[in-house]
Amino acid sequence: MSGRVLVGVKRVIDYAVKIRVKPDNSGVVTDGVKHSMNPFCEIAVEEAVKLKEKKFIKEVVAVSCGPQQAQETIRTALAMGADRGIHVEVTGKDYDTLGPLQVSKIFAALAKKEDAQLLILGKQAIDDDCNQTGQMTAALLDWPQGTFASEVSLEGDKIKVVREIDGGLETIKINTPAVLTADLRLNTPRYATLPNIMKKKIAQVKPADLGVDITSRLEVLRVDEPPQRLAGVTVETVDDLVAKLKESGTI
């Protein structure tokens, strides 16, 4: 086992920014808007760094796919304790159409190339909320997956994962190498420290170098704002409530 963990980090629009739809409804305004690391990716990085501190693994490699600015996100991961970074360069139209399928192909190729023992991702990105990349990557690699992880522990060459599922918590034991996706309660990410920010070891790679075809199979037709919330109606009795719900077709 190489003792190497790959952590995927995505550069997304900052959670605190008010999102605006482009006037031509083709997407969301991103120019000049503050971006930062996807919060679930931060949790993923923290978990990887924690595993390294507990000496379960030897090296944490942060990976991001995107244009030049993706390096900012990798640098944040380095500042949190990752050892080196890999920037997969995807720009322009290719970046606009880059989705979970393409990213999973890239991660799968990198995981093989880097001989990774573990691939940790955030459970989903807060811009597209796809929740697909981790699962797809595991399928492409034919590796076991521990998704929505709220607790991870390494036991020999197996991993015990407590997953947050609709019914509660599910505990599974999977073999390595494996893919994990981080859920909210896995940990609390640390701050980057000033000395760590001065580290800079980011390698650059193109999807073609990895033999990955990133053409998209999807076309976005239109993006709209959610409908305005309408005022509610106050009802007097429970019977009225049931009648109104039936009327609106809800029950």
Binding site: D14, Y15, A16, V17, K18, I19, G32, V33, K34, S36, P39, F40, Q71, E72, R75, T76, A79, Q124, I126, D127, D128, D129, L184, T188, Y191, A192, T193, L194, P195, I197, M198
Partner: protein, 408 residues
């Protein structure tokens, strides 16, 4: 902070249910949002933007939620400051070989400006501590294991600092100190005191700099002062009665004290000006948010041309102040001949303008601005003193005019 949240924008997270425990959802942290003309990240290197990001995050998560409580209960937030020190904020421009972070004055200014948006008073104390750490380079100050205070002002000598009266008489291998210092930030709660005292004749050349540890017999403190702002730092008089300090605790040579003090103050002035910048930045964001929400006469205040123009003026003065402060930091870092004057100009301009900006922001909030539930009044109270300490703005004018009028 709840009231500020009521007026603040509702935080959007796409449709995910992401909720991080440590984020407070009552308001958008200052500095986030669409890049606008007042974004303090403009013109910075990628590395500086990273430092700034860490400082903004720390300010938003660890300081801003506690700012009002620290002010009202007069709490000296030791644990929070130690957390800051762990990230490297304890000795930002101190060399790494003695435990500092080894960054430039400009990096320092950027960091203090960002931290100040979380709590001006605490950031100002951290900057004073940094100044002392730079002067001493030892004593576990960078990790904030121990805290420091800078003691120059006396009841009888403020602006006329060179006329200080605290004496230090040499007796064998100790100096015996007698006298008192006034308005000492952190006094009584800090561990290390950098004291300017008279070892020689009258005037600046007779002043030396001694480092005294708390607990030394003869080092006593006055009562904790009740202040209008800066309440998260205790302020006390420092009283020296036959206090014996080893000669080895002297910084530099005898008679060099005033020089050391003034050198420390150049950086100190940039730091204080940076704290004012942070407060003004936060207030511009708060005012902007308020104008977009508050309605009178059938429309939001943001449609009122007078207020639009005022906001524009506030933004312009903020950016102008920031540029001057950053230029002064660069000049100091490069030891330029205009460094001292620039530091004075930056302190003078930034503290005055930023106070006006914060005051104006309070006015824009109307009656709500006067309530302690709203952060804007705390920013106003906290930065008012920046026009007075580290050299009054009048003394800044003295320094600048002297540079202009002295025949070279």
């Amino acid at each position: 902070m709840a009231a500020a949240g009521a007026l603040g924008r509702i935080v959007r997270l796409g449709s995910s249910l992401c909720r991080k425990q440590r984020f407070i959802f009552t308001r958008s942290p200052p500095g986030r949002g669409i890049a606008s003309c007042v974004d303090p990240a403009h013109g910075l290197t990628d590395e500086q933007k990273e430092f700034q990001e860490v400082a903004f995050n720390f300010a938003a998560n660890e300081m801003a939620p506690n700012m009002a409580e620290w002010d009202q209960k007069e709490i000296f937030p030791v644990e929070t400051m130690r957390k800051a020190a762990q990230l490297g904020f304890g000795g930002i421009y101190v060399q790494p070989d003695v435990g500092g972070t080894g960054l430039s004055r400009l990096d320092t200014s950027v960091i203090f400006e960002a931290l100040s948006t979380g709590c001006v008073s605490t950031t100002a104390y951290i900057s004073i501590h940094n100044m002392c750490a730079w002067m001493i380079d030892t004593f576990d100050l960078c990790s904030m294991e121990k805290f420091a205070s800078y003691c120059l002002t006396e009841p009888g000598s403020g602006s006329d600092a060179a006329s200080l009266l605290t004496t230090a008489q040499l007796k064998g291998d100790h100096y015996i100190l007698n006298g008192s210092k006034a308005f000492i930030s952190g006094g009584g709660d800090t561990d290390v005191y950098v004291v300017m005292c008279r070892t020689g004749a009258k005037g600046p050349k007779g002043i030396s700099c001694l480092v005294i540890e708390k607990g030394t017999p003869g080092l006593n403190f006055g009562k904790k002062e009740k202040k209008v702002g800066w309440n998260s730092q205790p302020t006390r008089a420092v009283i020296l009665e036959d206090c014996a300090v080893p000669v080895t605790n002297r910084l530099g040579a005898e008679g060099q004290g005033f020089n050391i003090a003034m050198k420390g103050l150049n950086g100190g002035r940039i730091n204080i000006a940076s704290c004012s910048l942070g407060a003004a930045h936060a207030c511009v964001q708060l005012a902007r948010d308020h104008l977009l929400v508050r309605k009178q006469f059938g429309e939001t205040l943001s449609n009122n041309q007078y207020l639009q123009f005022q906001l524009a003026e506030m933004a312009t003065k903020l950016v102008a102040s920031r540029l001057l402060v950053r230029e002064a930091a660069t000049a100091l870092q490069g030891n330029r001949p205009d460094a001292v004057s620039l530091c004075s100009m930056a302190k003078l301009f930034a503290t005055d303008e930023c106070f006006n900006i914060c005051n104006q922001a309070l006015q824009m909030h109307g009656g709500y601005g006067y309530l302690k539930d709203y952060a804007v009044q705390q920013f106003v109270r906290d930065i008012r003193v920046h026009q007075i300490l580290e050299g009054t703005n009048e003394v800044m004018r003295m320094i600048i005019s002297r540079n202009l009028l002295t025949e070279s």
